[in-house]
């Protein structure tokens, strides 16, 4: 693990100038200067200066795979909570079933969980999601937990290394939604193991040597 210094920056902290750098994630520009706009870890990817958030609501991006909870069936769509500042809309045209007008409840009802994809985010932040894809469906069985969306990259790991580790030692099926919701299925003992490992990753997400720690935890049970 490279020992690069991980610096925490705070909103309003000066990070660079736009004549030398480009403003990336978590920053804003004022009078030619780049500042942090959130509490986060400074990450330089020259010429980009990024601030990776330590906390915050899910910021929907087109193409993201997420787990949603159906809030309300409407006449030709469903309102779905995806842990974003806004509920998302799932239109009957975006599901693999033939849904008659007013019959939405027959397919998805309040309290159901779905694995979906962000279809579009418009200027007013209105969100549309879709179930029309090979890997998307209504979820049955297993367990779902919530983590900070900002920790998702850590749980997946570089090139899926962390999630691979979790699967290897627990033999569980796992799906990590970009919106911080994780679905797990397996036998009960292993689910508990998996939950503990995920909590560890959440708590120590910006430490060094986390991968080893997690492996040790999973091995010892």
């Amino acid at each position: 693990m490279e020992k690069t210094k991980r610096e925490i920056v705070l909103p309003s902290q000066y990070l660079g100038d736009i004549n030398k750098n480009k403003a990336g994630r978590g920053t804003f520009i004022e009078q030619g200067k780049i500042y942090a706009r959130i509490v986060g870890v400074l990450h330089q990817n020259p010429p980009y200066i990024n601030v990776i958030p330590v906390k915050g609501r899910y910021d929907a991006v087109e193409g993201d795979l997420i787990i949603g909870f159906v809030e309300e069936p409407l006449s030709s769509s469903w309102l779905v909570d995806i842990n974003a500042p806004y509920p998302a809309l799932l239109h009957v045209n975006e599901v693999p079933w033939d849904v008659e007008f007013g019959e939405t409840e027959k397919y998805l009802n309040t309290g159901d969980s779905i694995m979906a994809k962000i279809l579009s985010v418009d200027l007013e932040k209105k969100l549309n999601i879709t179930l029309k894809d090979r890997n998307l469906y209504k979820i049955r069985g297993g367990h779902i937990i919530d983590v900070e969306p900002s920790k998702v990259p850590r749980i997946i790991g570089k090139k899926g290394s962390m999630i691979g580790l979790l699967k290897k030692y627990t033999h569980c099926r796992i799906f990590v939604g970009q919106n911080g919701r994780i679905w797990i299925d397996g036998d009960d003992e292993n689910i508990v193991k998996m939950l503990e490992a995920i909590r560890l990753i959440e708590e120590e997400s910006i430490s060094y040597g986390l991968t080893n720690k997690v492996e040790n935890l999973l091995k010892t049970q």
């Binding site: 909870f69 309290g111 159901d112 969980s113 367990h143 779902i144």
Partner: protein, 279 residues
């Protein structure tokens, strides 16, 4: 997210069948309890109580006022609870809703009916002036089991309360002239003194979901609960208050089992309370 998604509910039911709870506790086990008395300097008495992540602050304020006509020589208690929007994304600002009112009344009854406070010792001038005691419960963080947390906070705050003779010095000076009978009271109480109290009953809360009964429900468990029962027991093992909540039901046997458990849990909570207030 106000409603627990079905998958989460099913998971809780499933592990409950195996005798487990989501946070690894036993069915009859309470989360960690932390009681901190005397944290608010402006209040006559105060305490902060945490059960797990649920956090409640209770402040006691006293004032001098007129007695109720049916109890002319008795002090007066008034209990209020605020489910402030600070504590949960689902709490709204505004006048107390039914939940807050029920909470306040249950905590109030637990204190009033069991005569925890010696109200007859809060009489200043018989039939004219008595002490009014305001118990204000502030929920700061909501993670399940407000009843027990609020009750403990109220009791810890009461144990910590000093009748504010100093703050009302001017009032006593003025009233001495017109009501010399008050001198008896002043003789006995020349400075701030501890609120006269009796050993209180301790409440213990249980919820039922899918025929499983657990103590000290977490917020998810409350979400899926069909019925809830709070039982207050005293140090002699007698029952002093009960409140059943939510729309489901209990069998007689279930209630008897809960009573048994509440005697045990009540005792443990009482011990914790006594340790924290140093009595």
């Amino acid at each position: 997210m106000t409603v627990l998604p079905i998958i989460k509910q099913n998971y809780l039911y499933k592990i409950a069948k195996q005798g487990k709870r989501a946070d690894g506790r036993g069915f009859n086990e309470y989360r960690d309890i932390i009681i901190e008395p005397g944290i608010i300097s402006k209040a006559e008495g105060s305490a902060r109580v945490r059960i797990g992540k649920t956090q409640v602050v209770c402040g006691i304020k006293m004032d001098i006022g007129d007695p109720y006509s049916d109890t002319p020589n008795s002090g007066v208690i008034s209990t209020a609870a605020e489910l402030i929007p600070l504590a949960s994304p689902d709490f709204e600002a505004g006048p107390p809703q039914a939940d807050a009112i029920e909470l306040a009344r249950v905590v109030d009854r637990g204190i009033r009916e069991s005569e925890v406070i010696k109200l007859d010792e809060l009489c200043i001038i018989p039939a004219e002036k008595i002490w009014i005691l305001f118990i204000d419960i502030h929920i700061i963080d909501y993670d399940g089991n407000l009843f027990d947390t609020a009750s403990l906070a109220a009791l810890a705050a009461l144990y910590n309360t000093k009748v504010p003779m100093e703050r009302f010095k001017e009032f006593f000076e003025k009233i001495k002239e017109s009501h010399p009978v008050v001198n008896d009271y002043l003789q006995a109480h020349q400075t701030d003194y501890p609120l006269p109290m009796r050993e209180p009953p301790i409440s213990s809360t249980y919820v039922k979901f899918n025929d499983v009964i657990v103590a000290d429900p977490s917020i998810d468990e409350e979400e899926i609960a069909d019925a809830r029962l709070t039982v207050a027991t005293d140090k002699n093992g007698d029952i002093r208050a009960m409140q059943k909540g939510l729309k489901g039901s209990f069998t007689v046997e279930e209630i008897q089992n809960i009573i048994k458990d509440s005697l045990v849990n009540g005792e443990a909570l009482r011990k914790k309370l006594n340790e924290s207030v140093g009595s």
